[in-house]
């Protein structure tokens, strides 16, 4: 690590002081050994992994698979602390005992400690809205990303799998979306290191990398999500979309625990799209060709054979002449193909990880190595990841701790280009399911022609088999820190953090599988370096036995450098065997390197006070300065305050037995959003070149209307919460109601484009998000058979309050006419289309029903919303919104003897998806040369045979208008995970092995959605819509976990 090179020289000076701190080591405490068993107070079952600590030291251990432990206790210690997640902490006097058996009672959830920004806090004392996710069982799930692990786990946190391609980042929305043009993704903080925020582009890609790329889920101990401003505002100008705190595993003092986890299984597509099969396609094509033939001249009848038609025409025309073999028994010479079946496959998934953790009073460590290899669900797809982590903390003296966390990782995501418009999955679904049997799958590749009645695409199977699309990421996240205890309760901490990501993407398609037989290639990539230095001074003190005070002040310096390059090819390669670009004709006009940089300087502080552990008050403030804003607006201040009352601690509550805990809390705060790009306030010139006399003439032109007054988006959150536990906390619930008002939105407001620009970035818009969240966890059975349930359920609605100065609605959506709208009083990006209300009958047409163009009988019937007698774009009306109203997740876990079973059910409802994929697969008047959605088997065929009433006739010529036929509910439910495990326990126990467990996991295996128009109801890949999503994977794996 060489973090210093990113720092300006001036900045590094005050911080070097820690380099000269003297190590003072104390060695040689005498010890005695204490052993025993820890059990559940209710069930008497042994508890595995209970943490035991010699109080006041870092000496400790954890219990094994039989709940046993053994600890060498330093002589000067007389108290052992027993703690276990979900159970009450217990302290026991040693008093010379050598065997101490302890039973812990569950239910003391409130003693849990949660991670907050710049510190930790007892859950009981939390006054902001924080959700916690225990990541214990992640290593048994076949997932490659941390964001994937969050799906369905936390109230108010919508984790949207927008892409099915391997390794792709997820979209995470905390309490809805509040920004229109700036970033909507949360800030991720790994072990105190805030990573650079990044936003998806319109194609659903994180072009500058996703902060969670390559981070190994198996290394994660817990994840906290800070949802309201009171919890998040300590992160200031990056906190308005919430903050996700990720804590990685650390070592605990005691004997080394070595854990080996191996799993193997298979994945395959979770969904096949319902499209016409070969017979159905032939039926439709025949109908269309016969219709055209009859209409092409007098005395032409659909009964005439192909030969007769050819004789009449004199030359072949596929629009008028059918393939005679379609109607022949056994269709000789033709091959029927289910292209989806040819494309999809069952891919092997394997994951091996080895970790060791432990420590003594001087050093604690956690080291791990992990290898994941997941073959994709389609040919050519795959994901491999190699990662390692070392978290080491050294107690240099009683006062000084030094630590280093370092995690190098390397991943290769292979994707020959399957997702999105005109990509191979789109092509696969659209291919005509018929081919010459002499050609088979080799349609339009090499010397082969297209199938005469098919489209001009090249066989997608051959394309993916022979193309390269490898995205490689090498990333190292490193933190070094020192913590010095100045006096008891007063600590100084400094950290230096560097995140270095090198990404490169190589793509290549050989000439013989392209339509124009010209090889295609591209090589692009970036290096992103984030450097952060943070210094904090924290105080923890109790005064007079009742005043508990915690305070922290700090500074932060944060800089990000992003360098990228792109080398593109035009005009093919000069070699048929070389895939690197030295053999290619480079397109100089679109080849470049670019660099950008941003800097954030911050000061922050927080005060937490509680009186008698029942009256709680927290206030925080952060002042951020960012290079992204102009001189007048560089600095922003983000305050928050929150308060809580633990009613259950009051004397008058002590007799209410069934209430074990009860707390009300409220918060207010302002956080910001600086996710607008690095130089938006600067007036910039673009290159735009011309030529004179046959030579290039470089040109520079103004490219933006610079607004020097650009400033932060602000988000003001009010949150009211209630936490309560009943029946000895066997039922524990949290309820939150919030409003989040995002103001000064950075809006590209429409301006008269006669000024030369079509929009001007201005702080003007306002969006209001409102919602409520419930988290409920219950322990339904606690006997030999135990059963726990946790449920999260949340509702969010958003509303545009203000747009530009004139509140002019902003229309959006690609292709034809816009189909979504930002409009005051409506949810963001409301869908705005014409309504289909059935199929036109001849009586409708004769009776003067409103028509779009030359619509005729059998065409769709549309609603004339403005009543002007014709159908036009003016008949578009509001038709739903993309964000779901409700998201929910339910986890049930059972254990019986050595068996355990858990499943996670998760879903959403109330939102819509507008599928521009319909333009390719489901358009009115679509020809027969592309396949079409299954809806069309129930199309209108005649007045006597009108079909299901939602798709019109095949031979239609009126064109198309954006309407409800491409609109679907994006509701779904999925069983995201089922894990069945068996603890081999004593069966395998010997000197070498201390425990073993086998398990089987089904990931994303069952589910249902209402999206018949595409693969993935959460897809985003084309200007915010779905145009050719790749399906999600489902998998089953079997694993073994052994500890030594």
């Amino acid at each position: 690590m060489k973090p210093i090179f990113l720092l300006s020289k001036r900045c590094s000076k005050p911080l070097i002081v820690f380099g000269v701190l003297i190590f003072s080591l104390q060695i040689g405490w005498s010890q005695r050994t204490v052993s025993g068993t820890v059990t559940d107070a209710d069930t008497k079952e042994p508890l595995i992994g209970v943490s035991i600590l010699a109080k006041g030291t870092s000496t400790g251990t954890i219990t094994d698979y039989d709940g046993r432990y053994s600890l060498d206790v330093p002589e000067d210690v007389n108290v052992l602390e027993y703690s276990y997640t979900g159970y009450g902490r217990q302290e026991v006097q040693v008093d010379g005992q050598s065997v101490i058996n302890v039973s812990l009672s569950s239910g003391a959830i409130l003693d849990e400690v949660v991670v907050i920004g710049y510190g930790t806090q007892k859950k009981a004392d939390v006054t902001g809205a924080i959700s916690r996710f225990e990541a214990e069982s992640l290593e048994e799930r076949p997932i490659s990303r941390v964001d994937q692990a969050l799906v369905g786990q936390l109230a108010g946190v919508r984790v949207q799998q927008t892409s099915g391609t391997p390794g792709a980042g997820f979209r995470v929305q905390i309490r809805g979306t509040g920004s229109i043009n700036a970033n909507n993704q949360p800030l991720y903080v790994v072990d105190g290191f805030p990573l650079e925020v990044s936003e998806q582009n319109g194609s659903g890609d994180f072009t500058s990398g996703n902060p969670l790329d390559n981070i190994n889920p198996n290394d994660i101990a817990s994840i906290e999500v800070l949802k309201d401003a009171a919890a998040a505002a300590i992160y200031g100008s990056r906190a308005s979309n919430g903050v996700v705190l990720i804590t990685t595993k650390t070592g605990k003092t005691g004997k080394a625990k070595i854990s080996l986890n191996a799993s193997y299984g298979w994945n395959e597509t979770a969904k096949k799209l319902d499209i016409l099969n070969a017979e159905e396609w032939i039926d439709r094509a025949s109908e269309m060709i016969d219709d055209s033939w009859e209409a092409s001249g007098a005395d032409r009848s659909r009964n005439q054979t192909s030969a007769e038609r050819l004789a009449i025409l004199g030359s072949f025309n596929r629009g008028l002449i059918k393939d005679e073999r379609w109607a022949m028994p056994g269709h000789p010479g033709l091959m029927f193909i289910d292209w989806q079946d040819e494309m999809f496959r069952k891919g092997a998934v394997q994951n091996y990880s080895l970790s060791a953790s432990g420590g003594n009073e001087y050093v604690q460590y956690y080291v791990s190595g992990d290898y994941l290899d997941s073959e994709g669900i389609a040919i050519g797809l795959g994901y491999k990841q190699y990662s390692a982590r070392a978290n080491v903390e050294v107690n240099a003296s009683n006062k000084l701790k030094l630590g280093i966390n370092i995690a190098p990782s390397y991943s290769i995501a292979s994707d020959p280009g399957v997702e999105g418009k005109d990509q191979q999955m789109h092509i696969t679904v659209g291919m005509v399911p018929v081919s010459e049997d002499t050609i088979g799958l080799d349609v339009n590749v090499g010397e082969n022609d297209i199938y005469t009645w098919g489209n001009s695409r090249s066989s997608p199977v051959r394309v993916v088999e022979n193309s390269i699309g490898d995205r490689k990421i090498f990333r190292t996240i490193g933190t070094v820190y020192a913590q010095y205890s100045i006096i008891e309760g007063l600590n100084f901490r400094t950290s230096f953090n560097l995140d270095n990501v090198d990404q490169n993407t190589k793509s290549y398609t050989p000439a013989w599988v392209t339509r124009n037989r010209t090889a295609e290639g591209r090589y692009s990539g970036y290096r992103r370096q984030v450097f952060v230095n943070e210094n904090t001074l924290s105080l923890n003190k109790t005064f007079g036995g009742v005043h508990n005070l915690a305070a922290i002040v700090g500074t932060s310096y944060n800089t990000t450098k992003f360098d990228n390059f792109d080398i593109r090819v035009s005009g093919g390669f000069n070699s048929e065997v070389i895939t690197t670009l030295n053999a290619a004709n480079i397109n100089a006009g679109s080849t470049f390197t670019r660099e950008t940089k941003n800097t954030l300087v911050s000061y922050f502080g927080r005060l937490q006070y509680n009186l008698k552990d029942r009256y709680l008050l927290t206030a925080s403030i952060r002042r951020d300065g960012s290079s992204r804003f102009g001189p007048e607006t560089k600095w922003g201040v983000f305050p928050s305050v929150s308060a809580g009352w633990r009613i259950s601690e009051e004397a008058f509550m002590q007799d209410v037995d069934f209430i074990s805990s009860l707390k009300v809390r409220g918060s207010w705060g302002i956080s910001g959003n600086n996710g607008i790009g690095d130089y938006s306030h600067v007036s910039i010139l673009d290159f735009d070149n011309y030529s004179f006399g046959g030579s290039l003439a470089p040109g520079q032109v103004p490219s933006n209307f610079a607004n020097p007054n650009l400033s932060w988006e602000e988000s003001e959150t009010i949150d009211i919460g209630l936490d309560f536990g009943l029946f000895n906390n066997r039922i524990f619930a949290s309820f939150d109601y919030y409003t989040k008002r995002n103001t000064d939105l950075l809006l590209n407001i429409p301006v008269p484009t006669a000024i030369g620009f079509s929009s001007a970035l201005t702080n003007i818009g306002e969006v209001l998000n409102k919602g409520w969240e419930v988290e409920l966890s219950t322990r339904n059975l606690t006997g030999k058979l135990s059963w726990n349930t946790s449920i999260n359920f949340s509702h969010n609605s958003n509303e545009v309050i203000q747009l530009g100065p004139e509140n002019t609605p902003i229309l959006g959506g690609a292709f034809d006419i816009p189909h979504n709208i930002l409009m005051v009083g409506q949810p963001m990006y409301s869908i705005y289309v014409v309504q289909q209300i059935g199929i036109l009958t001849q009586a409708d047409v004769d009776g003067g029903a409103p028509l779009y163009g030359n619509q005729a009988e059998g065409d769709p019937k549309y609603f004339d919303a403005n009543g002007d007698g014709v159908i036009s774009p003016d008949d578009r009306i509001l038709s739903g919104h993309p964000n779901p109203d409700y998201i929910w997740g339910i986890t049930n876990s059972f254990s019986f003897k050595g068996f355990d079973l858990s499943f996670l059910l998760q879903g959403q409802w109330g939102g819509k998806i507008y599928s521009t994929y319909g333009r390719a697969m489901d358009r009115t008047g679509q020809g027969f040369t592309d396949n079409t959605l299954g809806f069309h088997r129930d199309r209108w065929r005649s007045p006597e045979n009108p079909g299901a009433g939602d798709r019109g006739k095949a031979s239609s010529s009126f064109g198309r208008i954006k309407n409800t036929d491409w609109l679907y509910h994006n509701d779904y439910w999925r069983i995201r995970n089922i894990t069945l495990g068996y603890n081999l326990g004593s069966l395998v126990k010997n000197k070498l092995i201390s425990g073993a467990r086998i398990y089987a996991t089904a990931e994303n295996y069952f589910g249902k959605d209402k999206y018949a128009g595409g693969f993935n109801p959460e897809a985003v890949n084309n200007s915010g819509d779905d145009y050719g999503a790749f399906p999600l994977a489902k998998s089953i794996i079997f694993g073994l976990n052994v500890t030594f």
Binding site: N516, G589, T599, V701, P702
Partner: protein
Amino acid sequence: MLSACEDDLNLTPISDAGSNGFYNNADDFEQAVSGIYASFGVQNNADYPSLYVIMDESRSDNIYAPGQSGVRDWNAINNFLTSISTLGTIKNVWNVTFNGIMRANTVLDQLIEKKGVIEDPNLSVRFEAEAKFLRAYFYFDLVKWFGKVPIFDTFVTPTEALSIGRSSVAEVYDLIISDLEFAINNLPESYGGADKGRATSLAAKGILARVYLTRSGPKLHPDGPCLSTNEYQQALDLLNDIIGSQKFSMADDFSAIFDYDNEGNSEIVWDLQFIGGGIGAGGYFPTEYYDEGWARINLPFPGGNPGDGSKRVSEDLLNSYEEGDLRVEPTFLIGYVGDSGDNIDAKFYDKFMNTTKAGGDRFDWSLNYPVLRFTDVLMLKAECILQGASGNQSEVDDIVNAVRDRAGLGMVSNVTLETLMEERRREFAGENLRWDDLVRTGMVIDVMNNYITNEDNSGKMLQVSNNSIIYPIPQDQLDVKEGLYQQNPGYL
């Protein structure tokens, strides 16, 4: 504590020039002026000439493109639909031309602001004249397409723009004429090789002649480009200046005019510059004409008109050629064999096509686009004479016969305005002049409606009225501020 670090908050872009540190010397200004010309290059997947293909040629009786499903912008434009104010093309045309004007205004503003940083005063004046020529060029197109438009003769902020409405056509012409006169007085007649393609005084005269001719046309639309001003003599004088300069002559071989290896030939009074080689300075307009299906077989890259909306040349145009007209072969491609083996009954322009000169992609054609040909200058002269400017019938007949002779056709006499226009149609087919010709001569309504009656089997085309002479203002511009602009009559 971090005060030193706070200095790091003042960052300037690394890979982009900020405008603050620019316009400081002749080189900067040269790049800024080149940037105005670059408005003619590819932006938003279209170059400037390809806007003419959709807005002018596809509107005229030369192209029949009703569209199978009617979804392409040019289908709606070809069909004279009244709901076209939301089309991307209409929006793009408005934005690109005004963006070009902003680029010119920026140069003109900075020339005043940074007066003296260009040491050579002649160069400074030339830059000003080039910027004014280009501003006038864009405004002339705007007037022809939209009629009344807002006048911006300096850089304007968004707030200021909210109170600048549309000026009358006459006022816009005042700016155009004064800009072109400045260009005529301050630009050289020609340039050496390295500057070939820059605006010249003779090009300015040619454009100004077109302005006078257009203004003189009958005022069929209250806000249209024709004001019945009868300035044919002014136009003629300018055209005679060009002819008298002896810099140009008619090429002997019609097809050689559009030869990729013969750019800047004697016919070319002014052309837009394109070069290939994948360096971002290529052209797109040849792509506008051909079929996607044809390109799959004949070009190494995809592109072209998709099957649902080909821009086919009209039967009416094809039938207008006499037997043996040598211009037919270089102008049109008649039919090809598709990749499914069908004979595709396609007829489209291939005047600007040479498959052996294909660049890296469809935006990389290297052929210059002829804005003003010498043959056009001569025929405009004939038009001026027929419209009453000084001159006689034999001058008119000689011009037309020179054109016909080159086309391998026999001589004619007593050429009328109608027959002159027919000859122009054949000569300039695919060069996007037809619609302007029809509007300028007032023939547009009759000619178009006759044509539609005869040509349109699809029934998709509406009849043409005076309202069709100009286009609607883009709907999104009407929405910016209620009442700032009013929609042109006849449009939704």
